[in-house]
Symmetry: C2
Subunit: 578 residues, 2 copies
Amino acid sequence: MMTFIQQKSALRLSAYFPILGWLKGYSRSDFSNDLIAGIITAILLVPQGIAYAMLAGLPAQVGLYASILPPAIYALLGTSRTLSVGPVSIAAIMIASALSAPELVGQGDPVTNAMILAAETGIILLLLSVFRMGALVNFISHPVLVGFTSGAAILIMYSQIGHLLGIGKLSCGLDPGCYVNLFQQSKPVAFLVGVVSVMTLIFFSKPLPRFLTHLHVNPVLVTAMSKSGPLLVVLAGAFIASKLFADYGVDVPTVGSVPAGLPRFSFDIVYADTWELLLPAAMFIALIAYVESIAIAKVTANLRRQRIQPNQELVALGTANLAASLTGGMPVAGGFSRTMVNFSAGAVTQMAVLIAAGLLAFAVVFMTDVFESILKTSLAAIILVAIAPLVEFNSILKFWRYDRSDGVAATATLIGVLVMGIEQGLGLGIAITLLSYLWRTSRPHIAVVGEVPNTEHFRNINRHEVHTWPELLLIRIDENMTFANAGFIENYIHCQVVEYPDVKHVVLILASVSYIDTTALEMLENLQTSLTANAITLHLAEVKGPVMDKLEQTHFVKQLSPGNIFFRVHEAVNALIS
Amino acid sequence: MMTFIQQKSALRLSAYFPILGWLKGYSRSDFSNDLIAGIITAILLVPQGIAYAMLAGLPAQVGLYASILPPAIYALLGTSRTLSVGPVSIAAIMIASALSAPELVGQGDPVTNAMILAAETGIILLLLSVFRMGALVNFISHPVLVGFTSGAAILIMYSQIGHLLGIGKLSCGLDPGCYVNLFQQSKPVAFLVGVVSVMTLIFFSKPLPRFLTHLHVNPVLVTAMSKSGPLLVVLAGAFIASKLFADYGVDVPTVGSVPAGLPRFSFDIVYADTWELLLPAAMFIALIAYVESIAIAKVTANLRRQRIQPNQELVALGTANLAASLTGGMPVAGGFSRTMVNFSAGAVTQMAVLIAAGLLAFAVVFMTDVFESILKTSLAAIILVAIAPLVEFNSILKFWRYDRSDGVAATATLIGVLVMGIEQGLGLGIAITLLSYLWRTSRPHIAVVGEVPNTEHFRNINRHEVHTWPELLLIRIDENMTFANAGFIENYIHCQVVEYPDVKHVVLILASVSYIDTTALEMLENLQTSLTANAITLHLAEVKGPVMDKLEQTHFVKQLSPGNIFFRVHEAVNALIS
């Protein structure tokens, strides 16, 4: 029997280790579901891990290592039951951009720098959790995120064209002649393998599951078969490369030697001197890693009426990234495709993720020989097919139709990413969001109101037939009063006063105001002074309780006599109209 | 007789040249008022112009030149009838800081750099006007402005201690021994003149006018006498310096040679190569110049029921700064003290400013001999007495009491200015304001409501005795729904759904929502999907007209059947409770 204190500490412990929450009631049927989901996810994760390492400009094992310990750590600490943490495409292109920055040339090797990026990402996420700053992700609005991922996806696809043609990295920019040359240099066999791979992957992604579902095949089996497309493409490519090409002397680039065995813990990165140089990139990676993870975690949790604790997610993702940095990995996040595969394959708990991580560990120990002959062309095909849906021109068009300023933000972010660079584009998007937000909140909704005849209701004089009085100006302010809109409100009231020269009383109706900041208070004091100088009296009506509590100690309200504050607009009218 | 078109173009012309508005009805009595105000202001402006040039680290004539053409240009273009534009203290210390930046050492002479700063300030203000970005000043909340001016004023006072002691610039930092040394090096005669000057100025500023008012002296005469304090101090100091000190060989630093004659137009600054280096400082100077000018312009205009056009003010101030840069001046702004003198001396229109500018031009042509022997100690005394009221610890304490986050912003800005530097401190304050604003708006007011028995009113279940139904969740959202709070709202609703397991219908009451951005719309779509997955139906109630117009085209509302949107909460309850 547990004592009360034991129960309480068990509760507290499960806040830090959410795994304890579900492990208690874990059943045999849960396990069989998780086992199947884990195997299916692992089938996807092996080629994806290698592909995203290549995308980041890193050796294959870095992506595999990042798929073992980090998801296992997340399984212990994360509050989502189905989020699958590991290398993700958008973070990979951000890593590639960070590692190829001109100021890093000749500074440390890429693998060490990737580990440092993971360490910094982890530390930043943990600091955000300590200071409860998870709300920072609010900075990234949905349109900016869509513009950003679309732009990053286009960059990723561009970066894979060279691999698809079998000629390595492209650097043609906007020179058309260069592209023509490239096609002439391309290796036809690689290109053929690439095209066939892309077509196979497209067939596996949509038509195959649809066809199988039509045949009433078990849904889990459908998921398993459709998600094994990448593995099939990679293995078939590797087989062809090692058998046929070797006989005919055709040279097509492969992944090359991958060390066998599990990663070792290492703290060597602390001695590297690129920490400071990598920090800005790490901040953006941390932001995007968190935004992407929390978004997908919420989607899956809400579908099953489960809860996500945003702050605990910072802890879990931060620790997972630290784990990646200590075991030769790259920055990790909760990925959309890997999580959706896990979820739709029937994963019930993080046990599925632990099983997948175990299978990857097995692969790293025993299957590295197979990985060595994987064609880069196959990987490029996997990346292209995985990334294409992230280019959401359609959504961006929808933003334009729904809200022009959101359309501007999404488009500017997209173009910024393509023209200025990944981090710069994201920074531009955030800046535009903030500016347009401030601009919008600086123009609050305000209405001059009048009395609906024979009622105690008051409505906008521009929209309704209402009764007004020349000596009385009733102004309803529909938003919180802050530094962002104090100037607008002041200007509005003064314009009204200039327009209606007979006004003797101004009544501000604050029914919708739940907050007045210092700047707005200062504005009200100035307003009172200048109205008084013009022989006009200022009154308040329908002030909310918490607002009144704060105002009560101020000079402003002491200047207003208590008789100048009315509970209802109706009372104000009765008192001021003689 | 004017044709209609002539009338219209005259109207349009007076929008660009507000001077045409008041010049038409200008009367003889207006002129006599403006003449007196102009003379009184000029008496103040001569010593102030020289003092602020010294404060900025520039020769005396730079401050005088900036007091001639720029205010005259503002008089033509500005919408304030009483704003006095010219050198101001806060801008002066910002100029000093910009000119002494380490990267500028050995780059161009200070006068040229000050002219470039003025040109850049002017161009920035004009660009802000072209893009209608005057609302940018909303970034600077009242607490940040007070923290900033207090910090800058402390820096200014510190910078004048050396001049007051007659030993020039201080650079002691935090070393107490250095200060002891300084007092030993100080020139006793200079120090004596300084102390007497400060005491005279304090006497002139408050006790003298109070005494004269007590004696029923004409108020305009009171203002004139009290504002001539600085001129008296300067002239008395200069007289003593030139007569007595010369006889006894006492050496006290004076302003030194001031070239006689009006400034010449010169476009030479375009060839200088410090434009880029000075640009960041110019941005901050432009921001502060505009904020300070518009604030004081509003105060004086509102007292007389006149209107300020913020965008036209950008044009006027921008052009005034360009005029300063072309006539050997420094960046200018509408100053608090100079405007208040002009206003309280009875100025009716900008004619007063034109008269003052004319008098300054006269002084520059005929009185430069007198200026040469002005003591730096006297100027330091003028600056100290003028600046001391800007240190508003009292206001900062008030902010803390009223709103902790505003207190933090003001204090951080003040400390930032003192420790990190003028521009950095201002930047810090703006960043804190924005962050705390976003943080605050990210936690909107939301309430679960129930029915007040036997009425059609619905109130917060935590504050009122209301009736609720287990299958029905009524949630009132009290703020606009945007990227900043979409996550919070979604989380709140999901928590409620987890807490009340019997809920079958969720009704969102949007009576206070006048705007839903794309991020919030996306959130609503996700919410609907996840509620549906849990066999819960989503409904809306009291949606405002403009919000409904926008929502109508969206997928989200098409998913909600029309029956799911209710005009009144009461109707929703009747329909959903069977």
